[in-house]
């Protein structure tokens, strides 16, 4: 939080927090132990400099190689203690699994979800015709090559011991005349069935949906409804991935989360934030109250036994265009942790009473109390210090990261 808070102030605030939480029926030690158990996955690509379709402005400090990206992820985990796995993008991160495994191990990390960059040509027939899609490409040769690339990603999973396949397709059309929606649907289902059949062991596939972009008329999987329908057709290994930025403006995302949990199909998240479209800003930076509401749903599902929070994959997926990528990644981790702590701080018994009595004013005040009147930083920082971590990882990062990254990055 970049703030020069004296240690004595933090201790005072922590003492207040313990009292407040107790009055809400919450044990602060349990909050800290749940917080310590929250694992957040960081994407290798998030440590590079991202840009927009207009320009990418690199300043030379960004890691250019897989070595640099994984080293940055390692530093992120050292500073936060919260990001033990790295999502990889294939082929962007290379396909030398031995090298990848070596780099991960050297940085104390594990392989996270494998993301098939469907838009990124690798297989030989994957030329400019990838413009027309990957798994839904109307040209059989290109479609087969795209499928093969996805099957290769499953092999990468096997070699790296990765459990989750994050499937986001760039497939979509730009006009109604381009492709029949039925044909688009048929090709998608056919390809997905073949991909699904290749999964083994405890592997699972997360189907991501997106309202638009890069397709500007009809994306192949435009909303959670279609992702859910596909996941259900495929079977138990298939779940739905919620990317925060992939919804129409105004969408009640926490309701989609709750729905998917009730249907047994919530796989996890691609965390980021948005003000307009798929802005890919730092998670919780635009609408922190929404992030809190989402965790409020997840905590409720955890407490009721519907879905343990440990079964949900929390993955960050942001585009770091302006700020330092590593710092913005840590900002996101911090925001996610805060939202979780605040959701854990809700006085649930009183809230349930308020609901039963249909007293929404009271119900809202209870959520507001948790959000606005919980000294979350004191809890977060105390928890970090107790685990031997820096209280404020961004400040620590500023002190250490340039040197660290200078040594490892390519």
């Amino acid at each position: 939080m970049f703030e020069d808070v004296q240690e004595s102030v933090r201790e005072q605030q922590y003492g207040i927090a313990a009292k407040l939480l107790k009055s809400r029926g919450v044990d602060i030690n349990e909050v800290k132990s749940k917080l310590a158990a929250l694992k957040i996955e960081v994407p290798s690509w998030g440590f590079s400099r991202a840009g927009t379709r207009f320009a990418v402005y690199t300043d030379g400090t960004e890691p250019q190689t897989i070595e640099g990206r994984i080293a940055a992820a390692g530093l992120c985990h050292k500073l936060t203690g919260a990001t033990p796995s790295v999502a990889l993008a294939i082929p962007r991160d290379g396909e030398d699994c031995d090298l990848l495994q070596k780099l991960l191990s050297a940085n104390g990390l594990a392989a996270g979800a494998i993301n098939s960059d469907s838009f990124n040509p690798r297989q030989s027939p994957l030329d400019y015709r990838l413009r027309w899609g990957s798994l839904t490409n109307p040209i059989a040769e290109v479609r087969r090559a795209a499928l093969q690339h996805h099957l290769d990603c499953v092999q990468v999973m096997c070699k790296l011991g990765s459990r989750n396949f994050s499937l986001w397709l760039h497939d979509g059309t730009n006009s109604a005349g381009q492709l029949s929606l039925f044909e688009q649907g048929r090709l998608l289902e056919e390809s997905l069935r073949q991909l699904y059949a290749a999964l083994t062991g405890n592997q699972q596939i997360f189907i991501e949906y997106k309202f638009f972009e890069p397709g500007f008329y009809a994306t192949a999987i435009a909303d959670w409804g279609w992702a859910y329908a596909l996941a259900q057709k495929l079977g138990d290994r298939a779940k739905v991935l919620v990317d925060m930025g992939h919804h129409p403006l105004g969408t009640n995302i926490e309701q989609i989360v709750a729905n998917l949990q009730m249907l047994g199909k919530l796989g996890g998240f691609h965390f980021n934030d948005k003000k307009y479209a798929d802005d890919d800003l730092a998670t919780g930076s635009v609408d922190p109250f929404q992030l809190f509401r989402i965790f409020n749903v997840l905590v409720e599902a955890d407490l009721s036994g519907l879905q343990p929070i440990g079964d949900v994959a929390f993955m960050i997926d942001e585009s770091h265009c302006l700020k330092d990528p590593l710092e913005e990644m840590i900002e996101a981790v911090d925001n996610i942790q805060r939202a979780y702590v605040l959701a854990l701080s809700v006085d649930r018994r009183t809230w349930e009473d308020a609901q039963t009595k249909v007293d929404p004013e009271l119900g809202d005040q209870i959520l507001k109390n948790a959000f606005f009147d919980t000294p979350a930083n004191a809890i977060l920082q105390t928890s970090r210090l107790e685990r031997g971590l820096p209280a404020d990882p961004i400040t620590e990062c500023r002190a250490r990261s340039s040197k660290q990254r200078g040594q490892s990055a390519g």
Copy 2:
């Protein structure tokens, strides 16, 4: 179309239309016979004056009674030959089934879908507490009464020989603290299962979804995904109803339609148009090209045998705030018919070729040719005249309706 087109011009245009359609592989006689088979259901409430939350401006010409509304529906059918059934709202239209049946018969009409006005108190315990919802109301007594009202609606269906139950609930919350999303979901599913169990014969239930309003935080069924999941849980009698105005801005509605058809769950439509939210404007009046694209999807599904167009329920649901209700209803019917004729006029063989060759420029030109270069009015008017109907039903309505409505309205 209000236009003083000479008969000779229409004949010329019709001749051109026949040639153009033939060149696209389409038989104009088949178009006319399909058009004649298209049945559009009109809602009783659409003949009343509607308003906004600010005001309802009645001018005294609007039907005030069920007699007047059904008489207006009868006139609509006489003028268009296309609207043989009337959707009824219970309890707004009363529950005297004998009277309703008599009125319908007297006007040459059949009972269409039954709409339970969930927000409209009728059962004794349905007082202001209906504010908190109907089938998801947290107060058991109110929830039971609301369910009973829905079961009563099934009885009305039985008595009137109505096949379809249109289920739109006003249920929703205005803040996150009001009600747990899981509890909202649980209550909804529980109530729906009881309602579903009451259906008999060939009855089916159409589950409608809505992005927002009157709930401003979380509507009980906010999108097609949740409506589909519920319909699937309930069984074969349950399908999804697509109301044009109930989506976030930008939503690709025709893709939702195609998805539901591929999933075997498209029940039908509530037709209207929107520019901003649930504006309930005349169907096809804001974005006629979207309406055309929807019919393009429906025609493709019909031709491929996926879902015969006759299995889709076409129902109008508009709010007639400014224009004359009957005239605006006929405007909607006219727009729907035109969109259907234009979709039937697509050169499908060439379009399929264009898709196979991945030639989107050609594909789009084919749709544009159908939309912009088909003399649809000549086809529409010729078809009407051949069936003994007025060529231009709104003009005819102006000549006749005031007298007609004066005689029948209450």
Copy 3:
């Protein structure tokens, strides 16, 4: 905040707050004195039960008369010490100025802005034809009567000593064919010039804009750009009123506020919150971080001397459909006060440094510190207690309001 915080905890938190603020270069006493100076205007209609176009669910406890509404406003001011004036709607609140003045005085209140309910017929020729608009009505007779109603409102201002005319028109069209946009613009400007000419003394007019509703094609004043252009044409007495709910989704409202301040044309606010459209929910209840950002802008303008915050009219305009109207009004006041306190708690010197050094990560952390790590409730409650007000006005309201309202309401 409905929370049973022990007095000792509040004192501890207040002490921490003082230290934190000091470390940010902020004097907590100055924060409290600015907070005490913040005046928020409440609308008489906000104490009634509101509804949607579907239904209004009254439970009998809502004030039915102007006496009851003003008594509720009086109680609101007693409990919060922050709402000394009441916005009135004419003709809804009646036009007996002597009575209004007597009621206001009896409750320790002053007349706030006068709102001409343009959609509400009063003048004799204002019949159903008001459907076509008020000051832009194409029918000269209706337009003149609507103008006369607005001129009468100026007379009410004179009699009650009200300074501000809040102009929101229901005028708008539902289709492109209804009225030429140029004619709509011409009629509007012509009417506004006549209304403007009637202002005297220190009176000013606030021009409100709205994206849509009740017009669903083109509202007469759809955005701040047109409101600004009109205000500029009219003269110095005309300013722009920002209603939070009247923007397209995603709109950066604080930027509009800053723009209007730079142009010297920010009149004030109609505060509420929205998730979808003009939801009229409690201010700050959906997106509290947005409300904070808006106050952050206002505080910056105040500190820089661009526009003293005391020159901005802070008015609440919400629809209380579900919660108790008085309680929800107090919730809004509390949220506005908190946002102001948080904005006053920003470490501005460090933030300016961060901007100069183009260090957005630091800049964002500073805002986040203010938002998440300021014990705002302790400041709010201490300030209230020091002024002899209840620490938690909603809890106090629950204890007192039913009795109080029972005595005064009609």
Copy 4:
């Protein structure tokens, strides 16, 4: 239109068109002469292959050099007779004005608007720090260099005889903490004043606004209101540029156009179409009825003398990601021409009557008649043939373009 229409059919349709238009008080010869006078400017970048932030899929047929792009523009003008000028982007198109002039002349073209690609580094200090903006960059050195680049563009205008400066800035922020909105506004105004002062002769500057992207929190000029306010401050040479894709969803663009015309500040258009955000699809391809409504406004302003249509700059600005760039450009030209012809075909006298009588049903039918019942292709094609142009420029392009482009492109 790619349709094999027999010549005799076109002649018949043209005859019908003449009769229909006459019945609406419109002379078909005047329509054709107005159509012939409509000049549409094409952008050099629109003949290249565009992409998204994910990928650009070139197939090798796209022009890679300025020679190729201007040759393609030349072919576009040969085929349509409607695009005599080319908008240039500096520095993308190079700054060798002699070469540019030579290429333009050789292809029968003139220089159109000069677009300063603010995001594109050229001046030496314009390195990665351009990330923070151009004319609003907080770093004085970078800001000055960006201003110098803009002043250089004015020199290019002078040399090429270009009249219009199209100003679209990539400036904007990604978070509230990055930069004060007031400072952003101050820097912008200061820079613009310097740029404005450099204009000479009949030069004018068009200020473009954009809702978002690449800035995802606050773009420097986010809406027409701010663009208008700036244009007004600057003076008569400054006008506003309306890019179709730069508005929030649902925005009534034609109303903004009418507003700007009433304020004397409409400079022109960047034509494209959108379904979601700044999709940059072919003009009129997603919502052709909106394009018609816009031209309906422009025609009304032309007829009333408010702003001659010849004073409006019609410029295409699209991203051709999937279709052949030249073909999609011609598609856009065709759609714009059709919209203009349809708007010219409105029965204005009857429409004015309908407005005066407040008969919106009739008013809408009149617009619908023009849109749906005018044989526009017959008029378009006849007009083209009479001017020695191919009836269907895309078909002709397919026959000729590959050869033509093969000869000229680099």
